[in-house]
């Protein structure tokens, strides 16, 4: 298991590149880019090695460094958890980061940007933090790296800090996600206080469990009634399931903020002010995935709470639809992609909430590839258009930049969910899982699933529409501006990453063609096998992070049951057919409206709805109102209280003290006979007082 010995280097290599770029970047060729490329390349190779080792059936869960022990049993550690889920995520993050570093050569270096060391230092620190988050084996470590990626996001969004937009967008991203993280932090403290541990998976030595994980403790508490060791339940006066739901929802606050789910999604569109490679890496493929990944990481905990599952599914479904509608009317290419990102993460949440663990991880994987591709493609277009992002100024770029066009098209087909591109397979599985669990599960949870499914399904149509509206406006028709007629050519460092991602976006769906597998009986659902592990023994038995375990919990504790309204195979086909049909319908509508040589705006036909959509349902406005209308006056009252009452008391005490001091000073008159008098008087007073008390007289 040598791979696991070197696993910490996966995190440390990009960190070294961060240091190199920060301190020596201005003395190096390419401003530190080469260090970053080398480091992420090295991490990628190591990740592949780790993945191969994990594929061989080995897993790794170990504490590396214990940084605090308390008098009680509570310990705070840094540790590695390398199982199929984290190995897969490592691959994704390293690959995208590697490609984005290369792309940055074209987007930043060739464009003559200044401050490159700062840029590459940011990318390096981000990659290191994200990888640290992925391999974290406990919740606190995960939280720390979660915050670090947030910091890097802030630094990189505000890269062009001399302009007006980016600093403001960076602040917004930081504050909005911090609002969610606040709940996350409380959740972390709550989980530590409840279970005394933040481990995601039990640590075993020689087959014996030496440190239990908190999802397992929660499971024992609910399933076996072992609540004796959990004093917190008595403190809060709740049953185990209710309290664990509260904890889960608190952690979900961080997830909602980071994965840009409603109502904390408002920061992501603004984050597009950052450099486009940053948008591709951080705000599409990896950091935004951290929230979803966290839910998947501690899925054993969420699977115990039907309420939390319903909340996750509903948030996901609603966000998928809500964000897709806002993407319909945007004019800037990156804005469309931003809303599409929010919407796609909604699908992942929907999958997680409705018991589709595989579907969520699958969609996370495919989305990382095709959305990174689309952002990099958009970056290529932006280079060509001299940083004009308005799609109405483009048009006709198809012939002038064919590599970008064809790869972008592959990404768009994947995003829209057209067979056989990657997005079709994963999105179909998300919807299929929501559907069958919606029909099978009884009570409110099943209803919630069906509602969420309906919203997700509707969003498929919108996705197809806005994706191909974007494609037609950007690449088809006649060029609508001079720059579009004579775009700046892009070099290999842009085309290379695009090609790699384009091929992947076309093919990566094949890792889990569940419908084909079911129909033909061929064992080609590789991702399913990857996350399920061997049925008996092996790593799932040791870590309890296998799919099989989660399905058992979903079924036994939350009563999530599969149901097939039309029988198993017809339901499968109908679900795939409906979603494909809706996607195609969306594409066709877009084609009818925008495919001509000289497309015109159709948004005015929406009437009042257009204003609503253009203003993003006034989400920003109401959040600003919350800040200025509610929080600010409240803060002012607090300030008044602080200045008036608290400071008043303090100032009062000090002036009373000084006044008292000056009075006491006057006793010291300087006349010695006064002193003698006072001294004698004092003694006499004492004598009299104690004499009366003691009854001497």
């Amino acid at each position: 298991m040598a791979a696991f010995t070197y696993a910490p280097a996966i995190v440390l290599l990009p960190f070294v590149s961060f240091l190199v770029a920060l301190f020596a970047g201005d003395r190096m060729p390419k401003g530190g880019a080469l260090a970053g490329i080398t480091a992420t390349g090295g991490s990628l190779l190591l990740s592949i090695w780790v993945a191969l080792t994990v594929a061989g059936g080995d897993v790794h869960n170990e504490i590396l460094y214990q940084w605090t022990t308390s008098v009680e049993t509570l310990q705070l550690n840094f540790g590695l958890l390398l199982d199929p889920l984290s190995a897969l995520m490592l691959l994704i993050v390293c690959l995208i980061s590697f490609l984005v570093h290369i792309f940055s050569l074209g987007y930043m270096n060739d464009e003559g940007e200044t401050g490159l060391p700062r840029y590459y230092a940011g990318l390096g620190l981000f990659t290191a933090s994200m990888l640290g988050f992925v391999v974290a084996n406990n919740l606190l470590m995960a939280f720390m790296f979660f915050e670090l990626v947030g910091l890097c996001s802030y630094l990189l969004i505000g890269f062009w800090f001399r302009d007006d937009g980016p600093p403001s967008a960076a602040k917004k991203a930081f504050l909005v996600t911090r609002f969610g993280d606040y709940f996350f932090l409380i959740g972390v403290v709550g989980i530590f206080a409840t279970f005394g541990t933040g481990l995601f998976a039990p640590i075993t030595q020689g087959g014996e469990v030496v440190a239990e994980s908190f999802p397992m403790l929660a499971e024992h508490a609910i399933v076996d009634g072992e609540t004796a060791g959990i004093a917190m339940l008595e403190t809060v006066g709740m049953g185990p399931q209710q309290w664990f739901t509260v904890l889960g929802l608190l952690v979900l606050g961080g997830v909602v903020g980071k994965s840009a789910q409603f109502p904390l999604h408002t920061w992501l569109p603004d984050a597009m002010e950052g450099p486009t490679p940053v948008s591709a890496l951080i705000h599409a493929a990896t950091m935004v995935a951290a929230g979803v990944y966290l839910v998947a990481r501690m899925y054993g905990f969420y699977a115990l709470s039907p309420t939390a599952l319903a909340v996750i599914a509903l948030i996901g479904g609603f966000t998928a639809l809500f964000a897709a509608t806002m993407g319909l009317v945007k004019q800037e290419i990156k804005q469309v992609l931003a809303y599409s990102t929010i919407s796609q993460y909604g699908y992942m949440m929907l999958a997680l909430g409705s018991g589709g663990y595989i579907a969520a991880v699958f969609h996370l994987t495919t989305h990382a590839v095709f959305k990174a591709l689309l952002f990099l493609g958009a970056g290529s277009v932006i280079i060509a258009m001299h940083h004009n992002e308005n799609m109405w100024d483009m048009g006709g770029l198809k012939d002038r930049m064919p590599v970008t066009y064809w790869t972008f098209l592959a990404g768009s087909l994947a995003l829209a969910g057209i067979v056989p591109f990657a997005g079709f397979w994963s999105k179909d599985e998300v919807l299929y899982e929501a559907l069958i669990h919606g029909f099978g599960t009884e009570g409110g949870l099943g209803t919630a699933y069906l509602i969420a499914y309906a919203m997700g399904l509707l969003a498929v149509f919108f996705t197809g529409f806005y994706t191909f509206r974007m494609v037609y406006l950007t690449f088809h028709g006649d060029a609508r501006s001079d720059t579009a007629r004579d775009p700046e050519p892009v070099r290999w460092n842009v085309k290379g990453p695009l090609t790699v991602l384009g091929i992947l976006a076309t093919t990566i769906g094949f890792i889990n063609m569940a419908p084909v597998a079911k129909l033909t009986g061929a064992e080609i659902d590789f991702l399913h096998k990857w996350l399920n592990g061997p049925e008996n023994g092996g790593w799932p038995a040791a870590l309890n992070t296998g799919l099989h375990h989660y399905e058992g919990l979903l079924h036994d504790v939350s009563h999530v049951v599969k149901g097939y309204p039309l029988g198993e195979t017809p339901t499968l086909l109908a679900s795939a057919g409906v979603s494909l049909g809706l996607a195609l319908a969306g594409v066709l509508v877009a084609r009818t409206l925008y495919a001509g040589a000289d497309p015109v705006e159709h948004t005015d036909k929406l009437g009042g709805l257009k204003t609503l959509l253009m203003h993003n349902y006034y989400q920003d406005e109401y959040q600003v109102w919350l800040a200025t209308g509610v929080t600010y006056p409240l803060a002012r009252v607090m300030n008044k209280f602080d200045q008036g009452v608290v400071d008043g008391v303090v100032n009062g005490i000090s002036s009373v003290s000084l006044f008292g001091g000056s009075r006491i000073r006057r006793i010291q008159s300087g006349v010695v006979s006064n002193y003698a008098t006072l001294l004698t008087l004092g003694l006499v007073l004492l004598l009299a007082a104690f004499g009366i008390m003691g009854g001497w007289f």
Partner: protein
Amino acid sequence: MALAPALSLGLASLVLLLADSIDPDSTNTGLLAGISGIGSLLSFGFAGWFITAGTGIADSTGVALFNNQLVVDQMALFFMAIVGSVTTLVVLASYDYIAGHDYQAEFFSLVLLSATGMSLLSAANSLATAFIALELVSLPSYALVAFLKHNKGSVEAGLKYFLIGAVSSAILAYGISLVYAATGVLRFDGVATAISSGTVQTIVDGSIQAQSGDPAVPMAILGVGILMIIGGVAFKTASVPFHFWAPEAYEGAPAPISAFLSSASKAAGFVLAFRVFAVAFPIGDLLAAGGAINWVMAFQILAIATMFVGNFAAATQETVKRMLAYSSVGHAGYVLIGLAAVSGSGEGLSLSMSAGMSHLLVYGFMNTGAFLFIALAEYWGVGRRFEDYNGLGKEAPVACAAMTVFLFSLAGLPIGGGFFSKFYLFQATLNVSAWSLAAALIINSALSLFYYSRVVKAMWIEEPTGSRTIESYPMGLYTAVVGAAIVTVLLLPGFNRVSEIAFQAAQLL
């Protein structure tokens, strides 16, 4: 032999006079300071050696001398060590301070004689010896305060000190006579026996016996006597309402003498108080006998009043030396907690007394150091007010850094041993749930930080107002100041050892 710490001080003072009489017309400051320094260092060394050797631990009563008139036990040695160390620092500093003055031999021998008195006082086991030792402390110090004969302030301070001292001594002597009248004995253990048995005692061939006819102890007379003894002790420790002399004397006296009086002399007053009240007037027996005075309550009143008067007056002073004088009064209030944080049945006395002792030891270094810094400032001719210290940190960074350590340690910040000793006192108050004392301690410590930091702010932050040049950096004063600062800081990690010794000493009583 057990009296070696006191004897070495006394002998050194005689040697000084001898050395001076060989050639009365010339003055060799180095020789005189050297003799005094060796004497006081020897005293400190002996005390330290005896403490570590465990004198008085094995036989639990200590080494009794002169028919039990003196007793050398751990507590006596603890205070002898304090006296020895403070005297060493003062002598070291005086080497520079009095260079050029007349009567240097007399100065040093007076200091040493007074220190001898303090050492003896630590070991006094009878009201008579205690009184004599106390006078041996006081009389030289009156002369020392007025040492700067041509300085009106110094002379006036000396006279005031003497007058108040005379009144206080009279009160103390009267108190002693009343106690003697009530109990028939002067020895501390005899007084205790009289109180616990309720009958007047006498001493025959060194052993305590009841007087024939078993006359009862008149508790009212005893009570008045005890209260007057409290008065005498309060004078020596500069506690309210006997503190009036302190600000004037400290301000008028040469700064090394202020350091000497406010540290060593105060410690001597406290050792008397601790011993008399812990040994001779056991509070449990007193209360059980009924009718007599509850001295714990008296000390509580005194402690709170002293803390408030000292600190509040210090907060509004304009000159640094006077501020330190008042703060020294405030610190007497803190140490009084040692006798005040005691429960009705006498529990907690060991803890609170050891807290008081530890504070005195730490205080011996930080307060002496602070006054010696004033001596340094006077030596340089820097003015007396806070403003005059502006920007001093730039010109004398080492001394100012030491002063900062002293002041913050006095305030109770964890930069020196003052933090732990104050914390220990606080614990002692909590131990017996004496909330009023605890509150007074906290409030006054917070207030004290205010006026101490005024000096620090002036030294480091403010810009100097006028032009001033520092010509020389006197070696002796610097050594004393820096040495005291180092010890103050070292007492932070070393406090545990000090408090252990103090607790053991207090328990043995």
